[in-house]
Amino acid sequence: MKIIFKEMMLLLITTFVVLTISLLVQISTSESLPRVESDFRKAAPRTVEDLTQQSITRDYGFAWERLDRALSSNSPWLLEAYFVGPAKVRLANAIAGQESSGMQSHYLNQNHKLEAVFYSPEGDVMELHDTAQYDLQLVADGKHIQDEHVVLHYVVLMTPAADRWVVRQMQAVPQF
């Protein structure tokens, strides 16, 4: 009887440790910044300046990090800093819909390959193609209803704001 009790305790402890580790891994992944690789060689007609390249890469990553946080916690105010115009309106609508239907979305393990395809002559708008990979989890009423690894193509318009570049348009397409 003693041996069985000991074995059961061991089993419980092992289960607890495994669950805790997996939970920690998930939390650390969802809170880490998306990985963004960028290529500005095809940008035309204007050449993208070095500092602008750095800003775009950094701010696009921040935008996706905010998008994940906003949609996983149904907090539209998190969109404020990096989304404007139609992109912000759409994401806010999606959050409102999620909230009313008891849903959340998680965008985990994000990797983005960003390629600039158009940079306006006066530098006031840039069009980018993003090949994004991430694990999409949809949760409804506490239950996972979708869990998939996706590779998606996004057409993105970014415009400069006071101290950063912001996402104005973000549209998934079947292919570029």
């Binding site: 074995e7 089993l11 819909g97 708008v125 996972h144 057409v155 998934a172 079947p174």
Partner: protein, 301 residues
């Protein structure tokens, strides 16, 4: 995995018996649950159009539609079409139709932009000197009525007009939803309109063409009581346009004592300054990089 379990639980005859039984129980439970089938959605749908998603099977289920600007949930009866309204797919992008009973199945589809219905036309600058090459730039983005970027190629017509006359006209195909051009400014100062159009859609932007730098600056001097009044002829650019008031003209007097300068804005087309006379002085004029004729001042007889 088994080696790990064996290491953690050595000689556990009870658990060795329990594990397979537990596994069998889990399998049986899973197998006994109703398996929902994959919903059937069209591969692509045009934004703002209504359509149906077929959900095979029988019984009740929950249907979720998740897209870029939309998330909704509804209870449905399997084996029937779920009608998706036009306003639920206004935003272009990837959508997921998820059907859940005890388990869930999903189908993805893309909503593509509708026909172009709006043009966003960015033109720079708003004020440009005449006769400058590639001085005006314009970029047009095509959007449908839901503000989705229209990515299929379309021909955009650009026209630059001034006083009702076409200065320039060109058709360009859009690429990735955008078309752009650079064009030189016209010869005459005044209002120019750069127009972008596709079918009946037209967008105009006004560009103010102003005189370029002064050309052929000429001055004349006239003695007054105690000084000399120096005045330019009407200041014009090389195309004959009057240089706008406020443009600075610099008069410089050079004599044995050195140089003195006066900066004067053009008023009503001319620049005027008063200078103290001195024997042997030379007065010259300049505006920007353009210099005018120098005048030598002799001593009063």
């Amino acid at each position: 995995m088994w080696s790990l379990i064996n290491t953690v639980l050595p000689s556990s005859s009870v658990l060795r018996t329990l594990f397979p039984l537990f596994g069998l129980a889990v399998c049986l439970t899973k197998a006994s649950l109703a398996q929902v089938e994959v919903p059937r959605a069209p591969a692509t749908v045009v934004a703002g159009s209504s359509f149906s998603v077929f959900t095979p099977g029988s019984g009740k289920a929950t249907f979720y539609l998740v897209g870029p600007g939309h998330s909704s949930k509804q209870q449905i009866a399997l084996g029937q079409d779920v009608h998706i309204k036009s306003d639920e797919t206004a935003s272009a992008g990837r959508y997921l139709a998820v059907v859940c009973t005890e388990t869930c199945q999903s189908a993805s589809f893309y909503v593509t932009p509708a026909d172009p219905a709006a043009l966003t036309f960015l033109v720079h600058p708003s004020r440009v000197p005449v006769q400058e090459e590639n001085a005006i730039s314009g970029a047009v983005f095509l959007f449908d009525r839901f503000h989705n970027l229209v990515l299929s190629p379309a021909t955009i017509n650009f026209t630059l007009t001034t006083d009702g006359r076409d200065l320039f006209s060109r058709s360009m195909p859009s690429n990735n939803g955008v078309a752009w051009l650079r064009v030189g400014s016209g010869r005459a100062a005044g209002t120019a309109q750069l127009m972008a159009s596709i079918g009946d859609l037209k967008v105009r932007r006004v560009v103010r063409q102003v005189a370029s730098s002064p050309c052929n600056l000429r001055i004349k001097a006239q003695r007054a009581k105690n000084n000399i009044v120096v005045e330019t002829d009407p200041v014009r650019d090389c195309s004959g346009n009057t240089v706008p008031d406020g443009t600075i003209v610099t008069f410089t007097r050079t004599d044995v004592d050195g140089k003195s300068t006066v900066d004067v804005p053009i008023k009503q087309g001319v620049a005027r300054a008063q200078m103290t006379p001195s024997a042997g002085a030379v007065i010259s004029v300049a505006s920007g990089v353009v210099m005018g004729n120098p005048i030598s001042i002799g001593e009063r007889p």
